[in-house]
């Protein structure tokens, strides 16, 4: 029963905002490229919820080893989704994306998205380099980047008046925080205890 409940809660948490976004009236006034760019962002936020759970092996049926392999694949998918998100927005309105990338955008959420983007790219590069680094160092950086990504993504998403419906977006953000804070926090505590 427990596995069903965990998977059920997880799927409702990520699929409800997705379904709400699919029903957004704003889609009617957007070109396909803009729609694709928007949904790449929505999908990235959904997948981000899975990342701490997979890394910690907390999703039933996906214990540590299998969970972590999937964690890497999902991480790679996040990189692709971010490229589609930013690329699609660039095609839709180049000056707005250039402003965002240069941190001179009038919209307060853009900078947070760009910060999260660079943190995701840095995480991917570091993941490839992991074997060349001391494990403790790698994990400290990985966890710090994870914090930046989670916070950046949430602050970015909640301020946007876009296809995501406010209530489901808010609940998704709370859910993302609820899974990230204990799992990431636990790693930091482990690290400190080992050092003592």
């Amino acid at each position: 029963m427990r596995p069903v409940l965990i998977w059920g809660a997880f799927l409702v948490l990520i699929l409800w905002p997705f379904a709400m976004a699919l029903g957004s009236p704003q889609l009617a006034w957007r070109e396909p490229v803009y729609i694709a760019a928007g949904f790449a962002g929505v999908l990235a936020m959904m997948l981000l919820v899975a990342q701490p759970l997979l890394a910690a092996g907390l999703l039933p049926g996906l214990p540590a080893m299998r969970g972590r392999r999937l964690h890497r694949w999902v991480g790679g998918t996040l990189v692709v989704l971010i490229v589609v998100h930013v690329g699609g927005l660039w095609i839709t309105s180049p000056p707005d994306v250039i402003d965002a990338l240069l941190f001179v955008s009038p919209t307060p959420f853009s900078a947070w998205g760009v910060i999260a983007m660079w943190a995701i790219f840095a995480t991917a590069v570091l993941a490839i380099w992991r074997r060349h680094m001391r494990f403790q160092t790698w994990r400290a950086i990985h966890m710090t980047l994870a914090c930046v990504i989670v916070l950046g993504c949430i602050v970015h998403a909640v301020q946007i008046d876009g296809t995501m419906a406010p209530v489901s977006k808010f609940v998704l953000s709370i859910g993302l925080l609820a899974v990230s804070v204990p799992i990431i926090g636990r790693r930091f505590i482990d690290q400190r205890e080992r050092r003592l």
Binding site: Y34, P106, D161
Partner: protein
């Protein structure tokens, strides 16, 4: 709590500020500054139109001269936005209008919808007589059917 202690330093700073600000105060109304992102997807030379597309939404505002605040008639204001009929970049989303004798303008256009995270419009003054100004006003609600923007122009 915020009482400033009168020292030689604040006295000098105050005197400097007074002399610096005086000429501007004498001139009165300060010119409107271009807003961040205001010129994004700008298309020079958008035609003067009765209305943009099917209409239903009103972009309104005033144009005055910096300093004395005199209303400026016959000034060309360009308007564009992401609407129910097209993206900001689309030519059909752009149009221009002229101010009346009171320096007021009103241009009907399709309903503005949120784009790039905010429901907003773009306006430009881009003729030769005054300094160019680009505005990017936000709608307080995406359901609003009107948006106002005001220009105070600095003579070239």
């Amino acid at each position: 709590m915020t009482l400033t202690k009168l020292t030689r330093r604040t006295l000098i700073a105050g005197a400097a500020a007074t002399t610096l600000i005086r000429p501007a105060a004498a001139q009165g109304l300060a010119p409107t500054q271009t807003m961040r992102g205001g010129s994004n997807n700008y298309r020079p030379g958008a035609p003067i139109v009765e209305r943009i597309g099917g209409g239903g939404f009103w972009m309104t505002g005033t144009v005055r001269r910096a300093g004395d605040g005199a209303p400026l008639a016959g000034q060309r204001i360009q308007v564009w936005a992401h609407t129910t009929e097209g993206h900001e970049r689309d030519e059909r989303s752009h149009g221009a209008t002229l101010t009346d004798a009171n320096g007021e303008f009103r241009l009907e256009m399709p309903q503005i919808v949120p784009a790039f995270g905010q429901a907003h419009g773009h306006l430009a003054y881009d003729s030769d007589e005054f300094e160019t100004v680009f505005l990017r006003p936000l709608m307080s609600s995406p359901n609003d059917t009107t948006l106002a923007a005001h220009f105070v122009l600095q003579p070239v």
